[in-house]
Symmetry: C2
Subunit: 321 residues, 2 copies
Amino acid sequence: MSLSEFDLIQTYFSDLGVSRSDVLLGVGDDCALLQVPEGRQLAVSIDTLVSGRHFLPDVDPESLGHKALAVNLSDLAAMGADPAWVTLALSLPEVDSVWLEAFARGFSALAVRAGVALVGGDTTRGRLSITVQAHGFVDRQRVMRRDGARPGDLIYLSGWLGDAALALLARRGIDVGLADLSPFYRRLDWPEPRLDLSAAVRGIASAAIDISDGLVADLGHICKAGGVSAAIQLDRLPLSAAVYGYVQKTGDWAVPLAGGDDYELCITVSPEREKELEAAVSHLSTKLHRIGVIEEGEGVRCRLPNGSRLENDVKGYDHFA
Amino acid sequence: MSLSEFDLIQTYFSDLGVSRSDVLLGVGDDCALLQVPEGRQLAVSIDTLVSGRHFLPDVDPESLGHKALAVNLSDLAAMGADPAWVTLALSLPEVDSVWLEAFARGFSALAVRAGVALVGGDTTRGRLSITVQAHGFVDRQRVMRRDGARPGDLIYLSGWLGDAALALLARRGIDVGLADLSPFYRRLDWPEPRLDLSAAVRGIASAAIDISDGLVADLGHICKAGGVSAAIQLDRLPLSAAVYGYVQKTGDWAVPLAGGDDYELCITVSPEREKELEAAVSHLSTKLHRIGVIEEGEGVRCRLPNGSRLENDVKGYDHFA
């Protein structure tokens, strides 16, 4: 069956996500028409996943649909935004209806859970590549920017850290010493945007970021934006037994510190508001772990359990490094 | 020089376009934060240009930067929206500073003229591909949708039609009988979004679309959305002498009717408002030409100057045809 570009979008993507009354006109015209609630601001995030770079060409299309949306919703979570609308630009080598149905299924299931509507898209022939732009709403008083951390603020991280990086190593053929890898592949392929956590801590946290490029790199962004430094206690990191065991065996702290792909939230909070923060998240299944403190200076310092400083120069995954 | 992804966005793209007071937070955080004016609605459009499909790999990067933005601003023009913000997702095989500077120059020059700010972006390594999402504001009473055309409405087109298609044929090595192709390449590589025309006719036009896929295909979208048909008089099409000569010589009406890439606006207007429309556009350098009429039924019919119907089944360029 030969489908035109127009049919392609209509067939697979017109019913994605939920119906929303603030979508005045969705897929099918030159533009979508959208209504931002009065008194709220629009938060916008865009991310591209490229085949061979962010995922393998033979990846399960259902998980790819999920992940392409999840990484953008994670950016909204890091900002303290309520998700509303998404657009999807999909580049495909060919029209494969089985692949497209599975991709749409994974994308839509998360869209429905997060309450977002797909409002526009573009489909082109080319190497497999997916660009999603997510739109959400924030309140001026509750927005979580990167630049709000102050010396003395406590650093919290939602857990777990490094499971996705371990799965990535295993997928590259490295023996990570695990019999059952499926829960780790699930963390890599089906990341869960921390929207519930974001809704609970916004208005309390002084800064926030999501861990997509690795803890050291992303916490480094908070430090740079705020003109501060961070001291992390490595024995306080929320590590699964598998990641802990791997680090013990190999001494390779890059898995939890630079692995990325976890899409956990790292937030900072003034010490006066620590109790308020812990009460706000006590009912959530996603747990926060206090891992360090913001200080004067610049950069991210990691302390080993014995008190010495980790000397490895751990950096986040960088597309052009 | 090896640039990190972060540096890349900061270096080339943080000063693109104009500064706007409704951009509360631009490039550099997890999300951009934006303020839509009270009482106005948000119009959103997304388009991808892929190397080898929408342009040749050795295309002038300055014109590519211009065109990537222009095709999205053209969608805003077709909706009657005032441009405000854009995001840019760029996939690049390598970091080439000369190429990036030229691309940014072309993008920014149009952004400044259109009064838009770049508010976010993502840069990944991969085959050259550019996705731009444009955001604008519309008034509910003045929005131009595709579905508003009614039988009896007059069809207008801004000119000229087919120049870009002629240039595309020439670039593919076909002799189009022209000594100087430069004005035609300019129409193909440097399309001008019809924002001035859009601002003049919104509130008067009953429907509008931009001609990106060819007149017959795009007018067909207006017909389908409105449940109407269209009758075009081919002798009324705004054709340059070169396109007219090519059609006379070859009989190939596909150049003006299906060529696409012109990014002119096709609008419909109720006959009672014809005078109002013509007065509204009289001061513009972009001219409107009345080319036909909306009727009952479905589809687009083209009448030759001798009154007979064009039999060729002309279709727009379709990525998956």
